[in-house]
């Protein structure tokens, strides 16, 4: 594939980060990569299925909490806890998807919001399980093949490899026949239906897939922070990832990655230099929407295309 060489070069460049930067930047890099995975998971819904969800933080949060609970209350090791977490979260995603897909458009958005708020409320109130707003702390990072992940560099490379795998898998999925039919349901649902496709089932599969990848992000999140708090399930968290996807360019593979990196940079890095970073974030979004209404990546592409045209 023609994209493989640039992709591998990028991977190599990113892998070199710990060699040239201090620990702070490596940790920032890990956070960006986790955000990239999370945004890519939502993109399956928002970009490829055309279903705008404002409740996606539920899957990252559920995964983080379940992993934490399995480790702290049941004492399970990572090798057991991780697959169980992914399974449980995806199953819940399937149920939520079943509920949410009874509607479409704004009603769908509201259902996803409502479902994630119910989980948020549970996290706050069910203190015997979740420890309420004190959160769950005292967690550890896994040590696959005996490599100690407490070391920031090791964890960064771990997250980087998983991000690469996720992006490849998502890319394959999106370019497969299933991906084509998914895009079909986004663009022409009625026509797909009349052609015999089960639109609901296709959408539901996308929902489940999105919650699975979201759960992966959740695991990496809880390993990184070693702490989980109900705020991870908040509307703000869902809104941020949605904004990342849209700003970067929903429906493209690179879009959510670009959007996620942008939001993390503004939130964590720019906030050290700009006191009014919230306003800056809002202004950046409005700017993107005015100049590149389909997102950064599509906007950049059309800009490039126009430049090529001018030259021709």
């Amino acid at each position: 594939m023609k994209a493989t060489i640039p992709g591998l070069l990028l991977l190599a460049a990113l892998a070199l980060l710990p060699a040239v930067s201090g620990e702070y930047y490596v940790n920032l890099g890990s956070q960006m990569l986790i955000a990239v995975i999370f945004a890519s998971s939502l993109n399956l819904l928002v970009g490829y299925a055309g279903l705008t969800s404002l409740g996606h933080a539920a899957y990252l949060g559920l995964s983080a909490y379940i992993a934490a609970w399995l480790a702290l209350r049941l004492g399970l090791g990572h090798a057991m806890a991780a697959p169980l977490t992914l399974l449980a979260t995806t199953a819940i995603g399937g149920i939520f998807g079943w509920i949410a897909l009874r509607a479409s458009g704004l009603s769908f958005l509201m259902l996803t919001l409502a479902l994630s708020q119910v989980v948020w409320g549970l996290a706050y109130r069910w203190t015997s399980v979740t420890n309420g707003d004190n959160g769950l702390s005292g967690l550890t990072r896994p040590a696959p093949f005996g490599i100690d992940m407490e070391n920031s560099n090791a964890y960064y490379w771990f997250v980087l490899s998983i991000t690469a795998v996720v992006l490849v898998v998502v890319g394959r999925l999106v370019n497969s026949p299933f991906g084509a039919s998914l895009r079909g349901t986004r663009d022409q649902a009625r026509r797909m239906s009349s052609l015999g496709y089960n639109v609901w089932a296709i959408r539901w599969c996308a929902f489940v897939g999105a919650s699975f990848v979201g759960a992966v992000a959740g695991l990496l999140y809880v390993y990184f922070h070693k702490y989980v708090h109900p705020s991870v399930l908040s509307v703000t968290a869902s809104a941020e990832v949605l904004l990342s996807v849209i700003a970067g360019g929903a429906g493209t593979l690179a879009g959510p990655a670009v959007g996620a990196v942008l939001v993390v940079l503004l939130k964590n890095y720019a906030s050290g230099y700009v006191e009014r970073w919230n306003m800056l974030l809002g202004a950046v979004f409005v700017f993107i929407v005015l100049v590149m209404p389909h997102g950064i990546v599509p906007g950049a592409r059309s800009l490039l295309a126009r430049l090529k045209e001018k030259r021709a």
Partner: protein, 416 residues
């Protein structure tokens, strides 16, 4: 994959920028200035308290030539937004990028819990504002020195005052539905009931309840008084609505340490007069350190310092006193820790020393709201000296019990 050339260039540029960024980090040079990091929340729901934290610290440094213990201080302020994951990121920024040697803050309990293991691993001396009990009890961090209070440290003496001086027999406890509210009311309930009183109702409105109408309607009217365990602005909103429902005069109000903070008081009117609260600080304290602090703060910012401003000011006093004997030596965290454990500092709140778990032992004041010089102040009516986080209980027994929570100690006197 369909990453095309354009997006690859964009991504590579970003990576390149990240690689170049380390050159922006200041070189460390000599160990002379003390690098002090302040973790505060300048945006988000805690913005008002967070801003006061910064102001309190600036106040102390300005009055002391930007020095603590004779060392010049380089202050770096980080905004956590009141979100635990940001708190951790900002802590990493302060420690890894800015090479902070001592930290003050964070503000909220969950921010402190989110960053605890990191700070412990890095052995960073930290002066939190957060009041979470276990941070200096069952999960004590040897590098943590809290100069303010645990959630219940001030509630214990107030309960004693309510039972013995105000002679309340039945009380209702209302607090935000967060750990801070649970811990504070649990401590109050324990001491109040042991002194012969009965807690007949406990209500925990959600932290972001837009309206307290439905909670006010449920208040048990047979009680003598209501204890308010709110933080931030919720106490103020509750009191206003309390008066609107005609409850003023029917039930007395007493407040915990953040219910009627000076920062909130300045926006209130006569409805606040006469309300008794408790805190380890009041802008009206007459000791020499506070006389200078409160006056300078008022002049600079136009309002009295309260809980948050005093917290960082007191922490700075303590750090100053602990660094004094280490003058001339390069910064060493171990010697700072030993010094802090032995410190007996004179601060704006009065004398401060630490117990074996890193929590303050100091005065706690019972105050009432009065109008003075045309503004509302918290006048001191009673002082409880040398109050520790364990009140009069034996520390070992206290720690063997579960941490204070919504259900512990169990409330046995709740009216149906």
């Amino acid at each position: 994959m369909t990453i095309d050339r354009r997006s690859f260039i964009a991504a590579a540029a970003t990576a390149g920028a990240a690689l170049a960024a380390p050159s922006l980090v200041r070189s460390q040079g000599t160990a002379e200035p003390l690098r002090l990091g302040l973790l505060t929340a300048k945006t988000g729901p805690f913005a008002s308290g967070g801003l006061d934290m910064e102001r309190g610290l600036h106040s102390y440094l300005a009055a002391n030539d930007q020095r603590l213990g004779g060392r010049k201080v380089e202050l770096i302020v980080a905004d956590t937004g009141g979100v635990p994951s940001s708190a951790r990121t900002k802590t990493q920024e302060l420690v890894e990028r800015e090479r902070a040697q001592v930290l003050m803050g964070p503000l909220a309990a969950f921010e402190a819990l989110a960053t605890d293991d990191y700070m412990r691993a890095r052995k960073i001396p930290v002066f939190p504002v957060a009041a979470a009990e276990d941070m200096t009890q069952r999960k004590a961090n040897p590098w943590l020195f809290r100069a303010s209070s645990t959630s219940a440290q001030c509630a214990h003496p107030l309960a004693d005052y309510c039972a013995k001086k105000l002679k309340y027999k039945r009380m209702v406890l209302v607090a935000d539905d967060i750990a801070y509210g649970h811990e504070m009311t649990a401590g109050f309930q324990r001491v109040f009931e042991e002194a012969g009183g009965k807690v007949v109702q406990k209500l925990f409105p959600p932290l972001t309840a837009p309206d307290y109408g439905s909670f006010l309607a449920q208040l048990n009217r047979d009680a003598d008084a209501v204890f308010l365990g709110f933080a931030g602005s919720n106490g103020f909103r509750f009191i206003r609505q309390f008066n609107e429902y005609g409850l003023r005069g029917k039930l007395a109000l007493v407040g915990g340490m953040t219910a009627l903070d000076e920062a909130v008081l300045r926006n209130m009117g006569d409805e606040a007069l006469g309300i008794v609260t408790v805190n380890w600080y009041s802008a009206e304290l007459a000791n020499p350190v506070n006389a200078k602090f409160a006056g300078a703060f008022r002049k600079a910012y136009g309002y009295d310092p309260g809980f948050y401003a005093a917290c960082t000011h007191v922490s700075a006093s303590v750090l100053d006193a602990a660094l004094e004997p280490l003058k001339g030596q390069p910064f060493d965290r171990e010697s700072l820790r030993t010094s802090l454990q032995k410190t007996n500092a004179s601060t704006a709140r009065g004398p401060v020393k630490f117990d074996a778990w890193g929590n303050v032992v100091g005065n706690v004041y019972v105050r009432t709201v009065e109008r003075k010089d045309g503004r509302l102040v918290n006048s001191i009516i009673e002082t409880y000296p040398d109050v520790s986080q364990f009140w009069t209980y034996d520390p070992k027994k206290f720690l063997a019990e579960p941490v204070y929570s919504r259900d512990w100690p169990p409330a046995r006197n709740l009216a149906a």
